[in-house]
């Protein structure tokens, strides 16, 4: 059944493509006929339709149907939530800390200008990273343990050392696009 939807998705794409390409049509004329931007994605959609079309009759009879467990999906959703939250934390902890410091000391530091100086640049990555690893481990193990926290601090520190300390040019997240 979920396989039928695949064939369906392919058809839906046929609507998206023409709406979202500049040339829209398959061939455009510019004193010469040339292939438009919409052709390649249409070919891709063709593959999908072909695949979905073959899937429907064939897989009905196949003896091996993959089983998707709802609990498993629930776990993964939780894991993804952890990851998202960690990265949001990564992005905003740095500026947040600066804001706190500014309020406390009355200074006017700007995160953007400080993003290349230690220790400011490590804040986001450190907080977000440790959060990510320790929470993920805890989720899998089903328990919160100090060992997990210790390991994640160690791992994040190691990553900082590998990526940032020796190299001038590499930026740890989120300092590239602040």
């Amino acid at each position: 059944m979920g396989l039928l939807t695949l064939a369906f998705a392919a058809v839906a794409l046929f609507a998206w493509i023409p709406l979202d390409t500049q040339t829209g049509i398959i061939e455009k004329v510019r004193r010469q006929v040339a292939i438009g931007d919409a052709l390649a994605p249409s070919v891709a959609a063709g593959f999908l339709i072909l695949g979905g079309g073959l899937l429907v009759p064939v897989e009905r009879n196949a003896e091996h149907q993959p089983r998707v467990s709802l609990r498993g999906l629930g776990f993964t959703a939780g894991l993804l939530a952890i990851i998202c939250i960690s990265f949001v934390a990564m992005r905003y902890s740095g500026p947040l800390v600066i804001w706190i410091v500014n309020s406390a000391q009355g200074g006017d530091l700007e995160y953007r200008l400080l993003r290349d100086t230690a220790p400011w640049k490590y804040i986001g990555f450190f907080i977000g990273g440790t959060l990510l690893i320790s929470c993920a481990i805890s989720l899998v193990e089903g328990q919160v343990s100090r060992k997990a926290l210790f390991f994640s601090v160690l791992a994040v520190a190691a990553m900082i050392i590998i990526y940032d300390v020796p190299f001038d040019d590499l930026l740890l997240p989120p300092n590239g696009d602040v």
Binding site: D20, T21, A38, F47, G51, P66, A136, L172, P174
Partner: protein
């Protein structure tokens, strides 16, 4: 510049690169050290379940580029390291497969079938030796084939294939990959279709970035690293973690096995193993040369063929395949190792990646620049030097050096890698997750890159859940741009002929083969296998 000159220049490039230090008066170039380092890293990574060669390549790439920069000088050290990892990982994967019944890399799965029983009978060391010998032989064999065939193939392509034929060839490769990898033609096609679609977002000739729904973040398209690493690695990690969580209830207990009896590999053993190794090496090389099929299939085929042969010819007291026959290990390991060399044939001569490792080599080449895998590399220019050709021969040299290392210290290092299993997977994998994302960020420096990768990771996870192989996706993603480019050029070059794929005999043949392979695999699956 004749062929010999180029070979010499390639060898020189490896040995006379920037000197790292002097050893006994001989200057050791940085490339040599890189190959060694990559090789050892590869074995370590392959031996760790949950990590695989491509993961190490992914993480190492931004670090390497940062060290060596973006100049063409950086090509040989960086790619030397990656080649080292590639070869190390193929023998590393056998270690936990044999010792603990968990394959370190997916293609080592077949090795568990005979490797673990041998461990249970106290013959672990011997099993490792067999695996090493078979692996190294297969690898060397396919490298030799690679070095001989790649230039010829490239020149053949150049001479006979015009733009429409090249387009048709790409379509054929994609169809072949879709049909053969994974469970069924249909699933492969879906995987391929998704990959192509993803490749076409944000790209295109027109000034408006297509399929982006107006989002400026998408206007550059998806960086290759995000799609490849997302689907292959993050997706695998998500699935692994879910599996771990589910198995947490029934926790596995690690048994201690003592080695007993004769652990050495005798001449007689070797003589018995050789035919299986030979057969598997040929199978592996042939399969590896075809773009898209990887070591897992080769290992399976090698095992199956070996099994059939063995059942007919075995001695009555020797164990069957699946119960601890050394020949079983030999058959699979030789096959999956010989894929690595042959896999580079389509990469170097046509620019079409055959498996994940080749994908990373292309990634490295694209990131550094100055080397565009494809027929133009093998142009033997008469007067001026073709630097890409020198690099290509440098790569060949690097592979042979890695083989040398494999034969000498590979076995030793391999056997000491049993310790890697001790790191609990559930701790390792989240760490690898963060590491991969950080590595991508280091290259792309945009937070969106991380979101893209996670998105692709979710996609990869879902694909695995419904048992659609992610590999066609990745390959289609990489080839998508090339396909469109080549089609556009062919169309324009033939003066706007809409049937350009069919007017040329060779192109029409490729198209027919493409259709044929899909239909044939689809029909085969309809019946009960």
């Amino acid at each position: 510049m004749g062929t010999l000159d180029y070979i010499l220049m390639g060898i020189q490039a490896v040995f006379q690169g920037p000197e790292l230090f002097s050893f006994l008066g001989l200057s050791i170039s940085v490339t040599l050290v890189m190959i060694l380092a990559g090789f050892l890293t590869g074995i370590a990574v392959g031996a760790t379940p949950g990590l695989a060669g491509p993961v190490a390549m992914a993480i190492a790439l931004p670090i390497l580029i940062s060290i060596f920069g973006y100049t063409p000088d950086a090509l040989l050290p960086v790619m030397g390291f990656l080649i080292g990892i590639m070869k190390g990982a193929t023998i590393g994967g056998a270690v936990p497969a044999i010792l603990f019944n968990t394959p370190g890399t997916p293609d080592a799965f077949m090795t568990t079938l005979d490797g673990y029983p041998m461990t249970q009978r106290g013959k672990a060391k011997k099993a490792l030796r067999v695996a090493h010998f078979a692996s190294a032989s297969g690898d060397t064999f396919s490298d030799i084939v690679l070095i001989i065939c790649a230039p010829f193939l490239a020149l053949l392509v150049e001479a006979y294939l015009d733009l429409p034929e090249k387009t048709a060839l790409l379509i054929l490769s994609l169809s072949f990959i879709a049909a053969v990898i994974g469970g069924s033609a249909a699933k492969g096609l879906i995987s391929t279709g998704l990959g192509l679609l993803a490749a076409y977002i944000g790209t295109g000739e027109d000034f408006y970035p297509r399929l982006t729904m107006g989002q400026p973040g998408l206007s550059q398209g998806f960086p290759i690293a995000t799609a490849v690493l997302g689907v292959l690695i993050i997706g695998a990690i998500l699935k692994e973690l879910e599996d771990l969580w589910r198995r947490r209830r029934d926790s596995g207990i690690l048994l201690e096995h003592r080695d007993q009896g004769d652990q050495r590999l005798h001449r007689a053993d070797i003589r018995r193993l050789l035919p299986y190794i030979g057969r598997s090496a040929v199978i592996g090389t042939a399969i590896g040369a075809l773009p898209g099929i990887g070591s897992t299939l080769a290992a399976t085929l090698g095992y199956t063929v070996g099994k059939a042969r063995y059942a007919r010819k075995k001695r009555p007291d020797a164990p069957e395949f699946g119960k601890g026959a050394a020949e079983g290990i030999a058959a699979t390991e030789a096959a999956n190792s010989s894929v690595s060399g042959a896999n580079l044939i389509p990469v170097l001569s046509l620019g079409i990646p055959g498996n994940a490792a080749a994908v990373f080599l292309i990634l490295a080449a694209e990131s550094i620049g100055g080397f565009n895998p494809g027929p133009s590399v093998f142009r033997f220019t008469s007067d001026s030097v073709n630097p890409e050709l020198v690099v290509a021969f440098g790569l060949f040299t690097a592979m042979m050096i890695a083989n040398l290392l494999n034969w000498t210290i590979g076995g030793l290092f391999m056997r000491s890698m049993g310790v890697m299993i001790r790191i609990p997977k559930q701790m390792l994998l989240p760490g690898v997750l963060l590491l991969t994302l950080t590595a991508i960020y280091a290259q792309e420096t945009r937070m969106e890159a991380i979101w893209f990768t996670m998105g692709f990771g979710v996609l990869g996870y879902l694909m695995r859940a419904v048992e659609i192989s992610p590999l066609p996706f990745v390959i289609a993603f990489i080839l998508g741009g090339k396909l469109e480019e080549s089609a556009r050029q062919a169309f324009a070059a033939t003066g706007g002929d809409p049937w350009f794929l069919f007017t040329n005999p060779i192109a029409a043949l490729f198209m027919a083969m493409a259709l044929g392979v899909i239909l044939w695999t689809a029909r085969k699956k309809k019946g009960v296998t």
